[in-house]
Every structure is written in C-alpha cells, then in structure tokens.
C-alpha cells in the first residue's frame, strides 16, 4: 500500500507540476492586468506544437525547444497588444469573453497550421525507468518536476528582486500611480504576457514527451490551471503553485483510492469545499470592500 501511495504521489506531482506552471501563468497575467486569461492553456499547446514541428523539420532538438519558447512568447505578447490592450476599460466578463475568443482563435490557427493529428516529442534523455522501491518513474518525470521548480524559483526571483518585476507588481496595485512614477505600464503588461506565455511553453515542452499533444489539448490544461490558481487564491503566485501540485495529487489519490471514473469530480468537490470554507482560496487574501 505504501508503495502504491508513493507511485500515486509521483504521478500526482508530475501532473500537478504542469497545472502549477499553467496556474502560475494565470496569476502573473491576473496580477499585472486583472485579466483572467482563458487562452493560457493554448500557450502550452503552441509551445509543444511549435517544438514538434521545428524538430520534425530538422532543427536540432535543443534549438527547436528554445525557438518554440520564443514563438510562444511572441504569441503571448501579440495577444496582449492586439486583444487586451485595445479593450483596456472593458469589464471583467467582457475580458473573459475576449480571452475565450482568443483561445478559440489560437486553436483554429493551430488546426490550420499543424492539422489535427496527435504528436509526441522524444524524451530529453533516454527513457529508462528509474525504480525507487516498488515505484518507478521516468527521467522525463524528473525533468518535469525539476523544470517546474526552476521556473517557479526564477519567477519568484524576477518579481522579488528585479526592478522590472517590481514595476509589474506596481502596475497591478495601482496603474495610475505606476505610470505617474514613470513606469511604462503598457510595456510591463507586454512583459507579463510574455512571461506567462513562456511558462506555458515550458510546461508544454516538458510534458509532451510523456503526454503527447494535439491542436486541442490546451483547453483541458487551461481549465486545470485556472483551478490551480483559484484553489491557491487568485493573485498569489505561490498559491497557484501549491494549488496545482495539490490538484494533481488529489486527482491521483482520488483515482487510486476512491474511483478512477470520478477522479475529476472528486477534485472539484475538494475545490468547492475549500472555497466554501475559504472564499478566497488557500493563500489568497480576502479583500475587504471599503464603504
């Protein structure tokens, strides 16, 4: 039983790492612009798909991965420039629909460019399973976890220590004040979308060797990432990471111990229960209304 549990945890953490990265992407954009970007999952798909096609076109693997990340960042920034910036004063629901439209648009574009086939990427290093007791994992699982951990640390460093990072946070607190102290708000938003897309692309290329991808695989990941961000508390980046990992583990334990058919339902029941008790998520701060 303990062996099994350990295996469930490995599985949960691998899956949860991806949720965490997508959730972190949600949080960064939310913090910078108050927009919940439902096209977040498409970044994962675009990252993975461009890597696959560059690689198939003969680009050496590491370069293909790097180029895919850059392509995705460009898409993220274009999204901000063309769809979010023109709609700056729109209400929350309106921006939600805009990002949903963007997500459909990106999926449609991917369908046209890459077709509807399912593709995989080769693992980063040879696919020899590693055994720990009775549990086994692939080297790629370790790359996923390690890659996620590094990305999270890098994001933390960026927002805690660099001037640009702090400037982006300032935009989120008060846009007017930020622009008064000389911060170029539009540029900061652009950077935030870029980083968020970057995280999506990293998640995509880390996980595709295990899970494959196709033009429509972004939807589910986007949804799970949103769950992660909410579970952790919207706006809290470490909350999103914790939320993602927790969600992955809940799904895996739910499938392993209770019922694999209802595992997603179990995960949502847990999320609902958390929200009923803590209406602002695990690490989110309740904002009081001033009257």
């Amino acid at each position: 039983m303990t062996d099994q549990l350990f295996q469930f945890l490995i599985s949960g953490i691998t899956v949860g790492s991806v949720y965490a990265l997508v959730g972190l992407g949600f949080t960064i954009i939310y913090n910078a612009s108050d927009v919940v970007n439902f096209a977040q999952g498409e970044f994962v798909m675009i990252g993975a798909m461009s890597a696959i096609f560059l690689y198939r076109a003969g680009v050496p693997y590491p370069f293909a991965l790097a180029a895919a990340v850059i392509i995705t960042m460009a898409v993220g920034m274009l999204l901000e420039k063309l769809a979010i910036e023109p709609a700056k004063n729109a209400s929350v629901v309106t921006t939600i629909i805009i990002t949903i439209g963007a997500s459909i648009f990106l999926r449609g574009a991917a369908l046209l460019i890459w077709g509807k086939d399912i593709y995989g990427l080769p693992p980063f290093t040879k696919d020899v399973p590693i055994s720990i007791g009775n549990a086994t994992l692939l080297p790629q699982n370790l790359y996923v976890m390690g890659g996620t951990a590094l990305s999270v640390l890098a994001v933390r460093y960026f927002f805690d220590k660099t001037i640009t990072g702090k400037a982006i946070l300032a935009c989120s607190c008060n846009r007017k004040a930020a622009s008064l102290v000389g911060i170029n708000v539009n540029r900061m938003l652009l950077i935030a979308y870029g980083i968020s897309a970057l995280l999506g692309a990293i998640a995509g290329i880390l996980v595709t060797p295990i899970t494959y991808t196709s033009y429509d695989s972004g939807v589910m990941l986007g949804l799970k990432g949103f769950c992660a961000a909410i579970l952790g508390g919207m706006g809290s980046s470490m909350g999103a990471v914790a939320g993602g990992l927790l969600l992955g583990v809940i799904e895996s334990l739910g499938a392993g111990i209770i019922s694999s058919g209802y595992k997603d339902a179990i995960a949502f029941v847990v999320i609902l229960a958390v929200l009923f008790i803590r209406p602002s998520g695990l690490l989110g701060s309740a904002d009081a209304e001033r009257v």
């Binding site: 599985s11 509807k116 399912i118 995989g120 295990i210 494959y212």
Partner: protein
Amino acid sequence: MYKTVRMIMVFAAALLLCSTYTASAGDTLKIGSFLAVTGPASFLGDPELKTLQMYIDDINSKGGIDGTKIEFIHYDTKAKAKDAKNFVNRLIKKDRVDVIIGGSTSGNTIAVMDLVEKAHVPLISLAGSVKIIEPVKKWIFKTPHTDRMAAAKIFEDIKARGFTKVALITGNGGFDKSGRAQCLALAPKYGLVIVADEKYGNSDTDMTTQITKIRSTDAQVIVNFGFGKAPAIVTKNIRQLGVKLPLYQSHGVASKKFIELAGEAAEGVRLPAAGLIVADKLPDTDPQKRVLLAYKNAYEAKYGPVSTFGGHAYDALFITVNAVRSAGSTDRAKIRDEIEKTKGFVGTGGIFNMSPSDHLGLGLDSFHMVEIKNGDWVLVN
C-alpha cells in the same frame, strides 16, 4: 428614441430567422455525410471524409453510376451529438439527400437514429457500437466491426493463450464505455474473470495511478479499450511501471499513428483489426487482398498512411453505389431494400452478407488478430 431603436434591432434579429429556402435538385444521387472531421475523433472522420471525396470524384469522372452523378454534401460534427442531430436534420430537410453515410462515432450515430428512421432515409454508419444494429432498425446499416466482435476476438485469443484473469482499463468516451460493457458481458462466456476495471478521462495525461492499481491485482492480461492519445499513454505507462503482462488494445488504435506515439512500448501489443493494415502480409489466396491493396495504394498515393477507418467509408460508399446500381433508381426506399440485399460484397472490412436481421453482415473471421513487432503489424496465427 433608444427604446425604438431597440425594438428595430429585435425585429432585425428575428428577421435573420427567415433565410431562403432551398429546394432539392433533380437527377443526381445525393449522398450526405456527417463525420467528426475535427475534434477528439478527427482520426476517424478525417480519413473517412478523404476516402469518400476521393472515390466520389473518381466515380463522377468516370461518368457516375450508370450515368447518375453523385452529389456529395458533407458536414463536420466535431463528434458532438447535438451537431450531428442538427446536421442530419439539415441533410434531410434542407439538402434532401438520398443516402446518408456517417457518423464517425457511435454517439453521433445513436443520436440521429430515431430521426433517420422517421424520415425514411437509408443511413450507413461508420461507428463501432453494436447498439446501432441491435435491435435491427429498418433504415440503419453499418460497415465497421462491432465492439462486441472486438471484445470476442480479444477474449478468444486470451483464452487460447490460457489466461483467465483480465484487467480492464477504459476511457470515458462512448467507444470506450461501450467496449467496456461488451467486455464485462462477454467475459463469463469465455471463462474469464475481470479482476480490475479501471477508468480514465480521455484527455488525461497520466494513467500510472490506474495501472499501479492493476499491478496490485493478480491480473494476467490487460485489455484497453480506447482511441486517440490515451491508449498510447496507457501503453507507455504500463511499460514504464515495468508491468510485464500482455496488453491487448482494441481496433480503435489500428493505425500507424499509435505505433508512432507509443514507440518501443507498443512492441508486443495485440489487437483485433480489419485486414487493411496487414494487406500486404495476407496470403495471395485471401479474397480480400486485391481490394485491400487497391484501396491502400490509392489512398496512400494521395494522402499518406492508410487507416482502417477510411476503409469503413470505402465499404459504405460502394455498398451504396452497388445498391443504387441494382435499384436502378435514386429512390430512398429502393436503395434501402438493395442495401439490405448486399451479398458477397468484398470490402476492406471483410465480405459483407447483409440480411433483414443483420445490417452489418460481417463474421468474426473478418477480424484479424495482429501483433506489433518491430514497429509494424504482424498477423497472429
């Protein structure tokens, strides 16, 4: 003022309802199709549509069926039942087709069966579920082998190898669920015990949890019913966890894509499939061989690797064409009667012998058990 404008806008919106009315055309055979060309079942719908288009163009360029040209009308359901229903409605009421070919998935087909029965239009489904033809419905036929046949073929092989304890793992789609139901129902007949019955979501990315649970049972073989990327992930996860049990997949993965995705992990996987994927390995005496190779070569020359799914569309199209030819008319009822009389038609799925009580007309022998070896299909004897 504002209010008046609002009213005008309401009026304009409602006027959009009143679009033009299209009447049906004259002397052609109208074939309509509703296939899942995009969406989760696109690997079914895509080759099906390509096959239909290729052969219909071919027939028309050769002067049609005894002079009757085929007009082909197609809609993409994205595998959504509601769309299937709307499109079939559109085919029947707006396009007024004579025959319908589709849907790609059982769900899409089942969704429109009542409608088609009421409208008296012959329909040949390209989906697997046995529910489509059992009980027999007057206007509804199908060409792919049923999921029950697949389960039976798998169990036959398992029994022949002397195993008795089976672990099932299936997805949450219609194909998966219906395959699972057939397995559960058929197992006792073959003296097999289902010792595990695990499920996953078709968009899940990791199934090690379910396989870990299977590992802790005393299963001797694993059977996975599913299509798309999930069976490839299951296959890889099984190997990753070092589970050495023989793995059976369903005919849902009978395409080169599966071997490409699962890679080395696919070695040794067995599955029941139509003759198409092993066409060149069949003995020359096999009556199907000529048809299979002709289809395979024609398709691959134009679109790339062939899959058995396109073959179902080929069968459906030529059963229709033969029926129209022998009916000598495009009358729906006559075509239906002739489809039901199909005998000895050599298709890609096997040799079809339909009857009023059998709207498929394939026997278990039309399935071949194949194994994946060195990245290719090999016939199991």
